[in-house]
């Protein structure tokens, strides 16, 4: 009987995993499409045929451009030898074959209407923007600078493009020159720009469905051994699943701005290491941002209306630095309705409670370690209240199904170190520690350590401590990397408060599916 519960729950988890793997597959199709591009070429092109500062082409390269050749205007460097000079770029609308005149390609810094032509920061030197000038109606080149009504694609060709080559150990990266580098993509205009909105929205949805949290990932790929205090080695599982159900528009967000659904299972096969905890429910969330509103307003104005001077630009950087000095970034108020269950040989509902759970969370700013080798952060639950009632107790059917009220406080600390090179023998170290103190104001069902039945009524302090150490290595096996995980758990979890004191260690296999950056190249 004991052996039936875990397989059933893991089957359930596997089914959820299949759901994500289907999406992972569609992502892999996109990756294969992108892989067709030359290692040094163009991965994606789009042309936005909208007026003013929206009039531009965006080009994603499949390798970083050599920034020596990335000047988009004389003010940005040597334009004469740049890959981004107008005479090096041919923009052809298809199917008409019309070519945008060089005079419409912006090589002027701070043009009054056209966006800059540049290699955009933040994309690892792989995203180029080509600003297109809206020519006056009386300009002889004007007609050729806009697509024909039937044109839906654009072909962009660079006479020459300079890339950063792959570096080898002990030697610097070399420059790679490619001639006549070409790519084709869609034209977006007023009539179809909403299709682009939908494409990017769907890409995000797919990516979220595919991205697995650490807890979820552990359920699918970790092989753990649990050593309970004084006991034999056993298996265990700790699974979390959370998804957004609903997000209110701001006008509706008076009481909450998000509704989430989720479950959490913490189960082991040996009594001394088994928290026997399962919960399932909805969370109504309201977030309050804590930041200097005057500075945020200044930043907003600078982004959307433009910082006109170097002084203004420096001021914005200073404002952002000031924002980072605050340790607390947001207060989050959660109201949840949850069903707590005892995961035992008699099923999830052997002992069950229905709980209203209200808690305040404090979100802090992550702090970088020296040299940006990692970061640490802290999440704090200063106060929370759990109130509700017992629904079932099959271990003791004659017991009174009474009310329950608990107070709680806790926190979580995370420290992550990352080596610069993922192939280093130790590529990542993650240490996390969680502590939660529950205080039971009224008697609740707790486990009798002798009979293993929830027949004792108890109240008072019920703590939970957990520490995890994860070490990622550069050792590749197939499509993933091998890591190690060790964790320590001690204390009590509802609904039966079995005392747990375990040391858990295992091998973790992290798949490369975690990288959804290729979704950036979805058309």
């Amino acid at each position: 009987m004991k052996s039936r519960i875990l397989p059933a729950l893991f089957t359930c988890a596997f089914a959820l995993g299949c759901g994500t793997s289907v999406l992972a597959q569609s992502s892999k199709v996109a990756i294969k499409e992108a892989a067709k591009a030359d290692a040094y070429g163009i991965a994606l092109v789009r042309f936005i045929d909208l007026p003013g500062s929206k009039h531009r082409a965006v080009v994603d390269l499949s390798a970083p451009q050599d920034k020596t050749f990335a000047a988009g205007s004389p003010a940005a460097g040597a334009l004469a030898t740049s890959d981004l000079k107008a005479s090096n770029i041919i923009i052809k609308f298809l199917p008409s074959g019309k070519i945008v005149p060089a005079s419409a390609i912006n090589n002027v810094a701070d043009h009054k209407t056209a966006p800059d032509t540049e290699n955009m920061s933040g994309f690892g030197d792989t995203r180029l923007q080509i600003g297109i000038i809206e020519l006056e109606d009386n300009d002889p080149d004007q007609k050729d600078s806009v697509p024909e009504p039937g044109d839906d694609r654009v072909q962009i060709t660079f006479g020459v493009l300079h890339f950063v080559g792959v570096s080898t150990p002990g030697s610097a990266a070399t420059m790679v020159e490619r001639k006549n580098v070409s790519g084709t993509g869609r034209i977006y205009n007023k009539a179809n720009i909403n299709e682009r909105v939908e494409e990017t929205r769907q890409t995000l949805i797919d990516a979220v469905a595919h991205a697995k949290t650490d807890d979820e990932k552990g359920a699918f790929v970790a092989f753990s051994v649990v050593v309970p205090a004084g006991g034999n080695s056993q298996g265990s599982g700790d699974i979390s699943f959370n998804r957004d159900l609903y997000a209110a528009s701001l006008a509706q967000a008076a009481l909450f701005d998000h509704v989430k659904v989720g479950f959490h299972l913490n189960k082991a096969s040996e009594t001394a290491s088994d928290p026997r905890h399962f919960d399932l429910g909805f969370t109504f969330r309201k977030t309050f941002l804590r930041a200097n509103t005057a500075k945020l307003s200044e930043i907003k104005n600078a982004i959307n209306n433009g910082a006109k001077a170097e002084f203004a630009s420096d001021q914005i950087v200073q404002d952002i630095n000031d924002l980072q000095q605050d340790f607390i970034r947001a207060y989050i108020f959660d109201n949840a309705l949850r069903l707590e269950g005892d995961v035992s040989t008699r099923g999830i509902g052997n002992v069950s409670n229905l709980i209203w759970d209200a808690q305040l969370q404090v979100a802090t700013v992550s702090r970088a370690l020296a040299g940006q080798t990692g970061f640490w952060n802290f999440r704090w639950v200063p106060v929370g209240v759990e109130a509700g009632g017992n629904l079932t107790n099959n271990d003791n059917p004659t017991s009174v199904k009474g009310s329950l009220v608990r107070g709680k406080t806790g926190g979580e600390f995370n420290l992550i170190f990352k080596a610069g090179d993922p192939n280093e023998p130790v590529s990542r170290i993650q240490i996390s520690a969680k502590a939660l103190e529950r205080y039971l104001f009224m008697d609740e069902n707790t486990l009798d350590p002798v009979t293993k039945l929830a027949v004792i009524a108890d109240k008072g302090s019920k703590y939970w401590l957990q520490a995890d150490l994860k070490i990622g290595t550069g050792v590749k096996v197939g499509a993933g990397r091998v890591g190690f995980r060790a964790s320590f758990q001690r204390g009590y979890l509802p609904p039966v408060y079995n005392y747990v004191k375990t040391f858990n260690f295992g091998v973790v296999f992290e798949t490369n599916d975690d990288d959804n950056s290729k979704n950036l190249k979805l058309k």
Binding site: L50, S53, K54, P115, D116, M120, S121, G122, F123, G124, T126, Q129, G131, Y188, I193, R196, V197, E199, T200, T203, L204, A207, V208, A211, K212, T213, N242, A247, S249, L250, D257, H258, R285, T287, L289, A291, L296, I299, A302, I303, N304, A307, A312, S313, V317, Q324, R329, A330, A363, V365, S366, A368, Q372, F375, N377, D515, N516, S517, N519, L520
Partner: protein
């Protein structure tokens, strides 16, 4: 001086990340230069945003610094620690392009 939706989206997302983690630095605002230089190709968790509470802080900063007309769409954004930040940049850029 005219900045495109691509540039505005990159600035709004980079600043919202920087407001939630000091791992992200805004070196210069105009032109935008950020650290890490491949910020938009990294996941949120890679820069220190790996709890839903931190992602909510990111989301609400983004709502504050983006044009008001985008607030409802940003509120409904799907976010998770494992997704690549550039996907959010692309979506914000598309929303800005679609504004009248």
């Amino acid at each position: 001086m005219a900045e495109s939706p691509s540039q505005k989206a990159a600035k709004a997302v980079a600043i919202s990340c920087a407001a939630a983690t000091t791992f992200v630095k805004i070196i210069t605002f105009k032109p935008l230069v950020v650290s890490p230089k491949d910020l938009f190709k990294l996941s949120f968790s890679s820069v220190g945003l790996f709890s839903d509470a931190q992602l909510e802080a990111f989301r609400h900063t983004l709502i504050t610094v983006a044009p008001d007309a985008l607030a409802g769409d940003i509120e409904k954004l799907d976010l998770a620690p494992g997704i690549i930040i550039g996907l959010v940049v692309d979506h914000i850029e598309a929303l800005l392009d679609a504004l009248p």
